[in-house]
């Protein structure tokens, strides 16, 4: 197992290496002047474009440019992100906790609801609840995230007026926080507010979290429901379930303790990948609800040709995904004793 983890972790630098080579390589398709646009922060620089090009060695051969980039990155300098107006590393430090926050709050409804409905559907195959779950999964699973988000916003914000506007806190609380800042401990605003005993901010953030969480839950749930259902049906047909029934255990014990526990094994993999995707930044959801996380920054950087920002976002998303996939694989071995690493 140890060797397996080490081998997988060794894969991480390879991924990063290929990705960075790839992005720096893509940039070679542009002219040095276009590349220089990524470094311009003020008018003065814009007037002396050649100076910027020489300073950053943008007209040098590809390998030299890559080496320069690598040297800077090794010193913790990933460049300056125009779209966040901060160095890339600081942007990540500032924004990653918000992505983590959204992922944490989405986790329980996502996995809880998906497994609950999937189990129910599997236990009542072809009955009403099963049909309902299948229709629900087909319909929600087919609505792209950006459409689902807009539909929810139209209904709950536009029509009913019960959902708050975009962002993490309401405008009036933003002004309030300018004079009474919430001390940063975790970077996740709702948790920081809770730790500081500031209930007003806490409820405001929770209020703002509801629609993004519903969006992520409904969109990601379809897969989880169908896999749980399928796995449940398969498990219920197995011999050990019949044995459990035969020895006179109650229906509930058989279903929940014997069948569901085993049925959840494939579900765990899918849930793990979904969490990994959430942590990499839910790009579209964060953008729709103007959630100040990694994903909305990445989309912003991409639409404004903020190259250091794009690179930083892609690197972070890649690292998080590789590490999370490793965690999922290890957890899988923990919950399923049949899995062995060799």
């Amino acid at each position: 197992m140890f060797a397996f983890i080490v081998r997988r972790l060794l894969f991480l630098p390879v991924v990063i290496f290929v990705l960075t080579i790839f992005i720096v390589g893509l940039l070679q398709l542009l002219s040095p002047e276009q590349r220089a646009a990524a470094f311009i922060q003020n008018d003065n620089q814009a007037r002396n474009l050649q100076l910027v090009i020489r300073e950053h060695g943008l007209d040098k051969p590809f390998l030299v440019q890559y080496w320069n980039w690598l040297k800077a990155a090794a010193q913790g300098n990933l460049g300056f992100s125009k779209s966040s107006n901060l160095p890339v590393l600081d942007t990540i430090k500032q924004r990653f906790p918000s992505t983590l926050e959204l992922a944490l709050y989405s986790l329980i409804p996502l996995i809880g609801f998906g497994i609950w409905l999937g189990t129910l559907a599997g236990l009542n195959k072809n009955k009403f609840i099963d049909q309902f779950a299948r229709v629900f999964a087909v319909v929600t699973g087919n609505i792209p995230t950006f459409v689902m988000g807009i539909i929810l916003v139209v209904i709950f914000y536009g029509l009913l007026g019960i959902a708050p506007g975009p962002g993490q806190v309401s405008p009036e609380n933003q002004i309030y926080m300018l004079t009474n800042p919430v001390p940063t401990r975790t970077g996740m605003l709702s948790i920081d507010a809770l730790l500081a005993g500031n209930w007003v901010i806490f409820w405001d953030v929770i209020h703002h979290l509801i629609l993004p969480v519903i969006t992520l839950t409904t969109v990601l749930n379809a897969n989880l429901i169908m896999v749980t259902r399928g796995s449940m049906i398969e498990t219920l047909n197995q011999d050990f379930v019949r044995t459990a029934r035969a020895k006179g255990l109650s229906e509930r014990t058989v279903n929940i303790k014997h069948a569901r526990r085993n049925a959840l094994l494939p579900v765990a993999t899918i849930a793990g990948f979904q969490v990994a995707a959430l942590l990499g930044g839910a790009v579209i959801t964060e953008t729709i609800f103007a959630w100040p996380g990694i994903g909305s920054w990445g989309a912003d950087a991409a639409s404004r040709f903020d190259v250091p920002g794009i690179l930083g976002f892609a690197l972070l998303a890649g690292i998080v995904t590789v590490v999370m996939n490793l965690v999922v694989d290890i957890l899988y071995a923990v919950i399923d004793p049949r899995v062995r690493f060799d």
């Binding site: 894969f11 390879v14 991924v15 290929v18 990705l19 992005i23 893509l26 940039l27 398709l29 542009l30 087909v138 319909v139 699973g141 087919n142 609505i143 792209p144 995230t145 950006f146 459409v147 807009i150 539909i151 916003v153 139209v154 914000y157 536009g158 029509l159 007026g161 995707a277 990499g280 930044g281 790009v283 579209i284 953008t287 729709i288 990445g298 989309a299 950087a301 991409a302 639409s303 040709f305 190259v307 794009i310 690179l311 976002f313 892609a314 998303a317 890649g318 995904t321 590789v322 996939n325």
Partner: protein, 349 residues
């Protein structure tokens, strides 16, 4: 599959054609597949006859000028060359959504709008001055153009590299597989965003990004299938007869590996346009005003609140694009899932 079909025919039983083959029989029995197929056909008609359903406008884009005619009516004459040009290879400017005026505020469906070329009545209203109906119809064409091109090249690259990797093995296989692992270890949306952001907004660049990211999945599946098929007797038999490597791969191994990827390709045909729409919703990928569903949804974002006395004043701006996208996704998914179930050899229903 090809081999078994020939064997059955030679025994002298009822000849099995494509239409009576087992997957097709299963597909025909599936009611949801028919619903999906109907929706897909409707969208295909929308896309294929876009120039007739949403004819080039007198004012708002340069489509008429580039077609070389002065009146939209010329498009409806199947005897003239304009008809065929508009339907088969419309100029790029036709994909630009008609911009009736520059008023940001939406105008409701069918309300006449005065323009320099006389009044027009946009069927589904306008958003940011763009004609929503025109955007939806030509957006369907964009969707098909993108999906078909991307899936074609993904399959071409994926099948070629997958077959090479699986058939020859050795260091080629090792190298390709590590490379595929790297691509697959990223969330695909992130990679697509990175590539389009750097290459710049255009339909071609979006297609390049999706092709560059998507072939890896196919290559991996084809490689697995090739490994399975390679050791079967009929391959040994063909090799013993002196068949060349290339012919063996193309004529014997790939056709046997095709069933799995067909189902995935059908599902991809439906999901790719929606992913692309998501990108252009984010403002990445397609230039502003290009006929694409994601643009229309992003126009709708600014008009969610309605007016003070009517909260649903602008319902049409988000409703029609959302409905179109949902029906398109549903249609392809129903069809794709049915195909997947039909070719699944484990299920003998």
């Amino acid at each position: 599959m090809a081999a078994t079909a020939r064997a059955t025919a030679s025994v002298g039983e009822k000849r099995e054609t494509f239409w009576t083959s087992r997957p097709l029989r299963r597909l025909r029995r599936n009611k949801l597949a028919w619903v999906g197929l109907t929706l897909v056909i409707l969208f295909t008609i929308l896309a294929a006859f876009a120039p007739l359903l949403a004819p080039p406008p007198l004012i708002g884009n340069n489509c008429l000028r580039d077609l070389g005619v002065s009146q939209p009516a010329a498009v409806y004459n199947p005897l003239g060359s304009t008809f065929w040009r508009a339907v088969l290879i419309p100029p790029a400017s036709c994909y630009q959504i008609t911009r009736i005026n520059f008023k940001p505020e939406p105008s409701p469906p069918l309300r006449p709008i005065r323009t320099d070329a006389g009044p027009v009545r946009p069927l589904l209203g306008t958003a940011n001055g763009y004609d929503v109906w025109y955007g939806l119809v030509w957006g369907a064409r964009t969707a098909f153009k993108l999906a078909i091109t991307v899936v074609f090249f993904q399959l071409l690259i994926g099948i070629t590299l997958g077959a090479i990797s699986g058939y020859f093995g050795g260091w080629i296989d090792n190298l390709l597989q590590r490379f595929i692992e790297v691509i697959l270890s990223f969330p695909s949306l992130v990679l697509v965003i990175v590539i389009t952001a750097i290459l710049g907004p255009s339909l071609t660049n979006v297609m390049i990004a999706f092709i560059a990211v998507g072939w890896a999945g196919y290559a991996r599946i084809v490689r697995g299938d090739v490994l399975k098929v390679r050791i079967l007797e009929f391959v040994d038999g063909a090799r013993a007869l002196g068949v060349s490597d290339l012919r063996l791969i193309v004529r014997h191994i790939i056709p046997n590996a095709l069933t799995t990827i067909t189902a995935i390709a059908v599902l991809d045909l439906g999901s790719l346009p929606l992913a692309a729409a998501g990108l252009s919703f984010l403002g990445i990928g397609l230039p502003v005003g290009f006929a694409d569903w994601g643009q229309l949804i992003s126009f709708a974002r600014a008009w969610i609140q309605g007016t003070a006395d009517n909260r649903l004043a602008y319902w049409y701006v988000s409703f029609y694009p959302a409905l179109t996208i949902i029906l398109f996704g549903l249609g392809w998914n129903l069809l794709g899932s049915a195909v997947r179930d039909a070719v699944d050899p484990r299920d003998n229903g």
